[in-house]
């Protein structure tokens, strides 16, 4: 294998690894938008909370309290992060999205979630302080080598878990009754309601799933992230970009866009550094918005006058 080819393959693998993580976070955003036409600005903060939950599970709960070995503790942390994310999703639905739903106001919920985001970040700052928390997944130290390509067991785990979650979600949406009902609600809430589907419960379910995904994403991201209360802010930039590039509410588009962003980052991070990556991604985003405001995959909708 030539040097260049090895490099390309290596970075592609890294890119897919990162991409899977981003997709997990972005999927939640796009799901919520699809069903509710709302953006949860606090979504990336759910990721942070999930990561903190994972941290405490790995370092305290799993190992010290339950006496589990490191690997089991890490796997447990994914579950707790998922649970914490789900709980947060329930809370924000009950507090913000459900009460404001009848009003039909587009912007109030968005602004409310901005408030929640600021609140969450600074609450965590008060709880945890500004110094980054560090925890390692026990899988990060195991390297696997195929020819000249290296990757860690952690990256295999991440890709396996996230792609299973994404696949499960995709199948769920496409083939189960609840999944189809969700899509019905996304398309036309009133009519879905008339057909005996309770949109409120389904919307709540969607938000819980989306937030659970975000939380679990936090557990998977935790070892790679600089874990401060403001970690969400770095992730949300890319998450928004992914959702817009892929098209709001469009699952396939989000998956493609997420992998794309991950790959771009893997290839450019050594030359640019993470701050500039944000810049590149957002410039791409603005270009995208200037040229095709509805995203790569979606169609144009004429406004109904």
């Amino acid at each position: 294998m030539t040097d260049l080819l090895a490099l390309v393959v290596q970075q592609s693998i890294n890119g897919i690894y990162l991409g899977c993580l981003y997709v997990m976070v972005a999927l939640g955003l796009t799901l919520i938008y699809g069903v509710l036409n709302q953006i949860n600005f606090a979504h990336a903060d759910f990721v942070t909370v999930g990561a903190f939950a994972a941290f405490f599970t790995v370092t305290r709960l799993g190992t010290k309290v339950l006496g589990l070995p490191d690997t089991a503790a890490y796997l447990l942390s994914m579950v707790t992060a998922l649970g914490v994310g789900a709980a947060l999703g329930l809370a924000i639905n009950a507090a913000v999205f459900a009460p404001l739903r009848e009003r039909g106001d587009e912007l109030r919920p968005l602004i409310a979630t901005i408030g929640v985001s600021v609140l969450l970040e600074n609450f965590q700052l008060w709880l945890f302080g500004p110094i980054p928390y560090q925890f390692d997944s026990p899988f990060s130290s195991e390297t696997i080598r195929i020819g000249r390509i290296f990757f860690t067991a952690q990256s295999v785990l991440v890709v396996a878990v996230s792609s299973s979650a994404i696949a499960a979600l995709y199948l769920f949406m496409k083939f189960t009754f609840v999944g189809k009902a969700l899509r019905a609600v996304a398309q036309d809430r009133e009519t879905a309601g008339l057909m005996g589907i309770d949109p409120n419960r389904l919307i709540a379910l969607t938000i819980v799933i989306a937030s659970a995904l975000a939380g679990m994403g936090g557990a998977l991201l935790g070892p790679v992230l600089v874990l401060t209360p403001f970690a969400g802010a770095t992730v949300i930039v890319k998450a928004f970009a992914i959702v817009i590039i892929g098209g709001f509410g469009n699952m396939q588009g989000t998956i493609i866009a997420g992998l794309l962003v991950g790959i771009i980052e893997a290839f450019t991070v050594q030359y640019l550094g993470s701050g500039l990556i944000d810049l590149v991604v957002f410039v791409l985003l603005l270009v995208m918005l200037a040229l095709r405001p509805t995203g790569l995959v979606a169609e144009r909708k004429e406004e109904n006058v």
Binding site: Y33, I39, L110, L119, F240
Partner: protein, 308 residues
């Protein structure tokens, strides 16, 4: 005209007296900050409250005002006022650039695009070290007026002037036009209103005013680092506008004053400043979307008709 004039006179008197009521240098500094926040809140309110554009990138214009004026003074030896004029112009131009996006995008898309704008500006400030000194910062910046009291009178005076001008604008047919765009852009177009033009106007003017506030910030603090213009500042401005009362004139002023002083008054809770903003913003949006102004009007028994 007479009632307004009396109110203006009262405001001038209050402003004149404030530095003598709060005598320590620390509190006088807070007064200067408050005056700057009033300017910023007024600038965002023009775009968000009156024209209905969800602009999350206002911190970018604040930053441009600060950096352009400071660099012109420190690196090129310009006079403060000339540099400020140029900085205001630069901020206004950048505002027009953002308006170009606002013309084609609505609601959530605009919110994210404007956020992107702010993030890009921030990253440029951090990374273009040759010009901005990046995170190292620029030091030894002098304010245009030596004393804190003097600086306060200057900034507060400018804020008062800007308030009067915008108030005039909002009471005039321009205000009707902007609010029409806010309420329903399509029917506004059916009345002959050129949405793109007036959005550009609102963004440009709003950006220029934010840039103007930015000119006084580095001198006040003494140093200039990009972190002072993080996107959290956009959210802070938004909190001030919304908590005070979006789409009214006095609302942003009240919001700026309350959110500047509240964390100071609750001294022990100083580190809770941002938490308070987040909480206040969320609660206001959920329960009293018209902010303090709406609460006041409900209390006093005045019905909410239109806006002012």
């Amino acid at each position: 005209m007479s009632a307004r004039f009396a109110a203006l006179l009262a405001a001038v008197l209050v402003v004149a007296m404030l530095p003598w009521l709060l005598q320590t240098p620390y509190w006088r500094g807070i007064l200067v900050l408050c005056a700057m926040n009033v300017l910023l809140a007024l600038s965002l309110n023009l775009v968000l409250g009156y024209t209905g554009q969800l602009n999350l990138g206002q911190s970018a214009f604040f930053a441009i005002g600060a950096y352009v004026s400071t660099i012109l003074v420190k690196t090129y030896g310009w006079n403060f006022w000339a540099a400020s004029l140029a900085a205001v112009g630069a901020a206004g131009l950048l505002g027009l650039a953002l308006a170009a996006f606002a013309v084609r995008l609505r609601g959530h898309y605009l919110a994210i695009a404007s956020l992107g704008f702010a993030v890009i500006t921030y990253q440029v400030l951090v990374n273009w070290e040759k010009v901005t000194e990046g995170v190292r910062g620029i030091y030894g910046i002098l304010p245009p007026v030596g004393s804190t009291i003097g600086l306060f009178y200057l900034v507060a005076g400018i804020a008062l002037l800007v308030y009067v001008l915008i108030d005039n604008l909002v009471r005039s047919p321009v205000g009707d036009t902007l609010r029409a765009i806010r309420e329903d852009e399509i029917s506004a177009a059916s009345l002959g209103i050129n949405g793109a033009l007036w959005k550009a106007f609102a963004f440009g003017l709003g950006a220029a005013i934010a840039g103007l506030a930015g000119c006084f910030y580095p001198g006040f603090v003494g140093t200039l680092v990009p972190d002072a213009f993080n996107i959290i500042e956009s959210f802070t401005m938004m909190a001030m506008v919304i908590v005070g009362g979006m789409g009214t004139m006095i609302g942003p002023v009240i919001g700026a004053i309350v959110l500047t002083f509240l964390p100071e008054v609750l001294r022990e809770f100083g580190e809770f400043r941002l938490m308070i903003y987040g909480l206040a913003l969320t609660l206001v949006v959920l329960f009293m979307p018209g902010g303090i102004v709406q609460a006041w009007r409900t209390l006093v028994g005045k019905p909410i008709t239109g806006n002012r």
